[in-house]
Amino acid sequence: MTQLISERELPSAAAEPRTDAGGDIVKMSARGVNVYYGDVHAIQDVSLEISKDEVTALIGPSGCGKSTLLRCFNRMNDDIVGCRVTGDIRLDGEPIADSEMDVVELRARVGMVFQKPYPFPKSIVENVAYGQRIHGLAKKGAELDAVVENSLRGAGLWDEVRDRLDSPANSLSGGQQQRLCIARALAVNPEVILMDEPCSALDPIATAKVEELIDELRGEYAIAIVTHNLQQAARVSQKTAFFHMGELIEFGSTSEIFTNPKIQKTNDYITGRYG
């Protein structure tokens, strides 16, 4: 695939963190982003910001481009044949498509959690330690044990698995497996966590635990979550972006979007009039 990032003049990496209109520190930004799958124009001139210490929810009907945009933030679309991305996406003011930006390092800084939990066919402890190894952060002994414990604690799973760390990861329940995947993402010290419908395969109790976890994690990470569950978006996020047919229709504070959306299309979607 080709990754094209426009060469228009861009501010140099800011020494001071950039803030958005509401004064929140911008962690990642997308400016004029377009994504094409062959001839299909999947994302059209989208600009939005993901702020630090906040959860940004991306909502919209199936095929609206929200997952495609999410994948732009850690260049997961690089791996899709025929996919072309243009525009400017930055992490802490640095263009992520810059030749100096190592994509492996980018994905360590911008972790991802998928719809279905895919633990590796290894033990619980190996799943969490895996990222440390592939990113060359591998530590041994007590240091690695501490990373594993902190990550599992961070994912709210430690108390449930501490006595069976060597058990196969696939022996865990679906909800536990998803939290294990979150622990695996946390183990490489990310700054941003992207979540693509992380609860869609989980039951309500497991969903509640993951949502609680998202709320705890937002104090330390910038989080972007794609969800079809509007109530989940309302519960877990501080900002919401509504997409329709590849366009960003409305982006604002979640409380505004869910009580008084400014655009009729947003209102119609969230009140179930179409979508």
């Binding site: 869910f258 009580t259 008084n260 969230i270 009140t271």
Partner: protein, 223 residues
Amino acid sequence: MTRTFDPVIRELRDMLLQMGSRSEAIIEKSFRALEKRDRKLADEVITDDLEIDRLDVEIDSAILQALALNAPVAGDLREVFGIKMIATDLERVGDLARNIAKSARRSAERTPLATPPTLEEMARSAIDQLRRALDAYARSDVEAARAVLDDDDRVDAQEDEIIVQELTEIANDSEVAPQAVDLILVAKNLERVADHATNIAEDVILIAEARNIKHASKLGAVS
């Protein structure tokens, strides 16, 4: 496209409008009972109020169900919230009518004291305010709701006038004090009816425009 929520909100609106028309009627009836010194009519008000209370309980239950099963958002949520607020106001209007009916019953047993023309005007104004606020809700008419808010001062002025008049009556002849006090109480109750009409008008604006203008002048003065 018909949503599963559409019949739910329609039913809530119907129940509220039914409660509204009963509230208008009960206030009219209570004032008529006072004017005509009609004990039977006053007793009917007490019974009619029970029906308003029953509708209030029904609306509460339907709202809880709508929130639990439909999780409304945006305009839908504002309307459900607004319906709850308006129902509470209408339930209070029923209570105020009951108070007026009690005054009517007492008056019927005493030497008559002429109903002051200002009180009749005030009753017409308060009932008119309530009717217009409910019409504004039924038609989602924000301009009509604003007009209700603009007229609130008139009822307040009428209440002040009646208090002065009745205090003068008492000063002139202390024998009429019980009747005069009841007329003041009726004026107070009518003034409260107009206040509830104002609240309803504010809810219409909240539902339509997502702007909460309650206590705006007081809060604006503080901030």
